[in-house]
């Protein structure tokens, strides 16, 4: 048996509400601190307590952080799912399990490590509730011993996690050690998976995309945040609340922002509309059902030209769907959200770094183009734990777009709100409260002329709609350009958002296993940059990889590419609700390429 170093996927199967989250974070951090690239994904049910939950930690010397379908080491703590979990393993995997589950008879081609967790933690506490929690840290110790994690790093990770709770710290340290000691004394390692110190995480951070987005918004100078709780977007606003409380309260104790929990999503987006109109950098965060409810206001924002930032942390639809599963299912409907000829700007972050970056840039685009900007993240990026480079402080000063001040108006004498003065389709606006008799204009969702006056004239209507089209079309060169990897291959792949991580790995698999070189373009915004068209032009066949049923980004490409290029597109779209894995992409592309 050859040892497999730093290439392991560890899954903890438990029930939600059992407090295993701390234990999993400690494992993740310990590996990270050992310099080994790592990522953590939580697969949890849409309820509060008592149902099966799986947390998967992947350590990869190659730096792959996407989901890997195969589990190498299973920690089976949940009676309900244990049999099925064990059955789905490949031969050669390992199973740490709670001894009473008596799993070892299920199959003979995997390594079983029974651990009597209750007994292991018994000496540490006599309190039933505490004991239940400590079982979690005990499996950390067991896993640490089996995977050869450095116990010092485990202890440091525990120290970090319970920094402010001395008693808990002590108990948890003891539990981890007890697990470690038990494993050392009682278990004989028969699986090949180990983790060894590397130097690939130095200077990096671990964070989830929602927190990153929150930080981005804060450094983007957000001033008004509205929300209505909905999974998986709630934690975006909740971390914003906590960061803002820390960094956006003045010395006088006064906040430079307002965060309001609205009564529903119609109100949340309505408040953003009011705030954006009145000059705030305003945002909201939601998920599918909320996006649907925002339709009418989204059209108002487009048409009355109100800056707004809306985060859609995508979950699985249609309808309420699977609230705790991930997808890229809102792309097409959000691009055209609302009736009539409405069209929106979309940003498509793929990494926590981009959640941060688009977090502040979204406001720049929204205010520059005076229109709602939708940032389409997803549950995988938003709620899972990712390694990242420390975020880069915004490299541009805040730009509020074309806003006329009292002084500007003194100089100009007046202005026309919807007039295309600069030929870029973007008019000048004023903010309510501007102290000048010519400052006011009448914002409305009804037809209007350049002076913002009500008009039912065909010519006014057509001119205005053509300008709006131009304005949004122009945005394509300003929004984040796509990122190209590779050159000269016959086959191209387009992907975006969280599919990126599987794509990187799939590209390598295609190259090394299937001898297929593919160039890869990661799209980061809609409307599409001209480079997207160029990429398709340069490749005979272009696979569009995404996480939905209908091939939604492929659809947007069909709508916008030069028609002659459309036959080159091939949609690779699936929606299992689990984060995309490289293997699926590799096999499908290879098969369709005849490899």
């Amino acid at each position: 048996m050859t040892t497999v170093v730093n290439d392991v996927s560890l899954q903890v199967a438990t029930v939600n509400g059992s407090g295993s989250q701390s234990a999993n974070m400690v494992l993740l951090r310990a590996i990270f601190q050992m310099g080994v690239p790592v990522s953590g994904k939580n697969l949890f049910p849409s309820n509060i307590a008592g149902l099966p939950t799986w947390y998967t930690i992947r350590a990869s010397k190659d730096g792959w952080v996407g989901r890997k379908k195969e589990i190498d080491v299973l920690v089976a703590m949940n009676a309900e799912s244990a049999k099925e979990d064990v059955a789905s393993l490949r031969p050669g995997s390992a199973v740490v399990y709670d001894e009473p589950l008596a799993l070892s008879s299920v199959r003979s081609d995997v390594a079983f490590y029974p651990v009597p967790f209750d007994k292991v933690v018994h000496p540490i506490s006599s309190e039933a509730k505490t004991k239940k929690l400590l079982r979690n840290m005990a499996y950390v110790g067991v896993v640490a011993q089996l995977l050869e994690l450095e116990m010092a790093e485990v202890e440091r990770a525990i120290g970090k996690h319970f920094a402010k709770k001395a008693k808990a710290l002590e108990l948890n340290l003891a539990a981890a050690r007890a697990g470690f000691d038990f494993a050392k004394a009682q278990l004989k390692k028969t699986d090949p998976f180990v983790v060894r110190r590397m130097d690939a995480t130095r200077g990096k951070i671990i964070i989830d995309g929602n927190s990153a987005a929150a930080l981005g918004a804060m450094f983007g100078g957000v001033t008004v945040v509205t929300w209505y709780p909905i999974t998986p977007s709630s934690s975006l606003v909740e971390s914003l609340i906590s960061y803002m409380g820390r960094y956006r309260i003045g010395p006088d104790g006064k906040a430079t922002y307002a965060i309001v929990q609205a009564e529903d999503e119609l109100a949340a987006i309505g408040m953003v509309m009011g705030a954006g109109w009145a000059g705030a950098r305003a945002m909201t965060a939601t998920a599918g059902p909320g996006i649907s409810l925002m339709s009418e206001f989204a059209g108002l924002g487009y048409f009355a030209e109100v800056p707004a930032v809306i985060w859609d942390v995508q979950r699985v639809g249609p309808s309420t769907g699977l609230p705790t599963r991930t997808s890229q299912g809102d792309v097409l409907s959000t691009a055209f959200l609302s009736h009539g000829d409405t069209r929106h700007l979309l940003l498509l972050p793929a990494t926590v770094e981009e959640c941060f970056q688009f977090g502040w840039e979204a406001f720049e685009y929204a205010e520059h183009f005076q229109t709602p900007v939708f940032v389409l993240s997803d549950l995988d990026i938003g709620m899972n734990n990712w390694m990242a480079e420390p975020f880069r402080y915004p490299d541009r000063p805040i730009h509020r777009g074309k806003v006329l001040s009292k002084e500007d108006l003194d100089r100009l004498g007046g202005f026309e709100r919807y007039r295309d003065v600069d030929g870029d389709g973007i008019g000048y606006r004023t903010l309510p409260g501007t102290d000048h008799p010519a400052a006011a204009y009448f914002a409305r969702g009804t037809g209007h002329n350049e002076k913002a006056q009500y008009s039912e004239r065909s010519d006014d209507w057509e001119r205005n709609l053509a300008r709006l089209e131009r304005k949004v079309h122009n945005a394509r060169t300003a929004l984040p350009a796509p990122v190209l990897q590779g050159e000269g291959a016959e086959v191209g792949i387009i992907a975006y958002g969280s599919s990126h991580h599987a794509m990187l790995e799939a590209r390598e698999q295609l190259r090394s296993e299937k001898k297929l070189d593919v160039d890869y373009l990661r799209v980061r915004a809609y409307p599409f940059h001209d480079d997207v068209e160029a990429f398709v032009k340069n490749h005979a066949r272009v696979y569009v990889v995404e996480q939905n049923r209908d091939g939604q980004l492929a659809g947007l490409l069909k709508l916008d590419l030069t028609a002659e290029l459309v036959p080159r597109l091939r949609s690779v779209a699936h929606i299992p609700g689990l984060p995309l894995d490289a293997r699926s992409v590799t096999e499908e592309v290879a098969a369709r390429e005849g490899r």
């Binding site: 008004v224 960061y243 119609l266 409260g433």
Partner: protein, 341 residues
């Protein structure tokens, strides 16, 4: 214009005018626009400080017909409250005036209305109440009275939503009912509402001459005049004229408003004190039973904290905070990054 009368900030009435109304001649809403315009003129409020907000409907169009020098946002049907909330979050110094209809408020908009008053958001919320959807040609709204009859003969059977009652119970701090045809009362009430800090809900019966001003209607001019039951006579003493007004405490209730002006209610009903919430609720319920159109200031609480007070915001409008106050320094990001490393 040289000799036009000017107000205390030196503006003439013309400075408060709006576009030409496209509402029907005689529509109650036009009379209300006129009152609003005069109120702002007489109080000497700088038009640029005002933000007009509305939903959709004939009533919601009316902000276009007064005070063109104030910014205005004609939003979507029934959702003006949220837009107003956002606008005030962005700029807490605005004097916000919401104009809505009974359909816009009580039918499609009742949800946002409830949550607005619950927050006691500082704005004047005028419901131009005609019991029908004017702009879509006269269907009943949710304030239509039981037994009210459309021209087509259709009779309303569902109980009306009493927006004043709702507002009082859910947290509004200035609640009144008036009539577009009662210039004096409406004027005083509007001035007081503008001087109040908190949600001021004014349900103003405003007959729709096109669809709901006939016999059998309970929101017609004639019906409203007949059934009008004023609680008191109102007078308003603005802060800039307050040189120690005298009044008889037995017959007058004097309410000192947030900005120092006074609302005086000369009692017609002996014991009525609009600062008593329970009494207000009870009196409105009685009026419902008796079929009265009870007008006057039904409830006022001049001291309650508003939504904006509760948020602990800086005094400067968030909208115009300088960049260095809204983007934390590089050191802040460094600190966060270290904690995540």
């Amino acid at each position: 214009m040289a000799d036009a009368k000017t107000n205390r900030i030196g503006l003439t009435l013309a400075d408060y005018q709006g576009g030409k109304s496209t509402l029907c001649a005689g529509c109650g809403h036009n009379a209300i626009s006129e009152r609003l315009l005069n109120t702002m003129f007489e109080l000497g409020i700088q038009p640029e400080r005002v933000a007009k907000l509305s939903g959709i409907g004939c009533s919601s169009k009316s902000p276009a017909y007064f005070m063109s020098r104030a910014h205005s946002f004609n939003t979507v049907h029934g959702r003006m409250p949220s837009v107003a909330t956002g606008a005030l979050l962005a700029n807490r110094t605005l004097i916000a005036l919401g104009v809505s209809g009974d359909g816009d408020t009580a039918s499609i908009g009742i949800g946002q209305f409830v949550h607005l008053v619950r927050r006691n958001l500082p704005l004047v919320y005028v419901i131009e109440d005609n019991g029908v959807y004017g702009l879509t040609k006269g269907q009943f709204s949710a304030t239509a009275d039981v037994g009210s009859k459309l021209k087509t003969g259709v009779v309303n059977e569902l109980p009306p939503i009493d927006t004043c009652l709702l507002a009082i119970e859910l947290g509004a701090t200035f609640v009144g009912r008036s009539f577009s045809g009662d210039k004096r009362q409406l004027s005083a009430m509007l001035k007081a509402a503008v001087s109040h800090r908190g949600t001021a809900v004014l349900d103003v019966i405003s007959p729709c001459v096109a669809f709901n001003d006939h016999e059998g209607s309970t929101k017609s001019f004639a019906y409203t005049k007949d059934h009008d039951e004023p609680l008191h006579e109102l007078s308003f003493v603005p802060v800039f004229e307050d040189i120690g007004v005298e009044y008889n405490a037995g017959t007058t209730v004097d309410v000192r408003l947030h900005d120092g002006s006074h609302l005086q209610l000369h009692k017609l009903e002996e014991s009525y004190d609009p600062r008593q919430k329970l009494q207000a609720v009870q009196r409105i319920l009685e009026a419902q039973v008796r079929g009265e159109v009870l007008t006057g200031v039904l409830y006022v609480d001049p001291a309650a904290p508003t939504f904006l007070d509760r948020l602990g915001m800086v005094e400067t409008p968030l909208a115009t905070l300088p960049a260095n106050e809204v983007r934390p320094p590089r050191t802040a990001l460094d600190e966060v990054m270290r904690s995540l490393g």
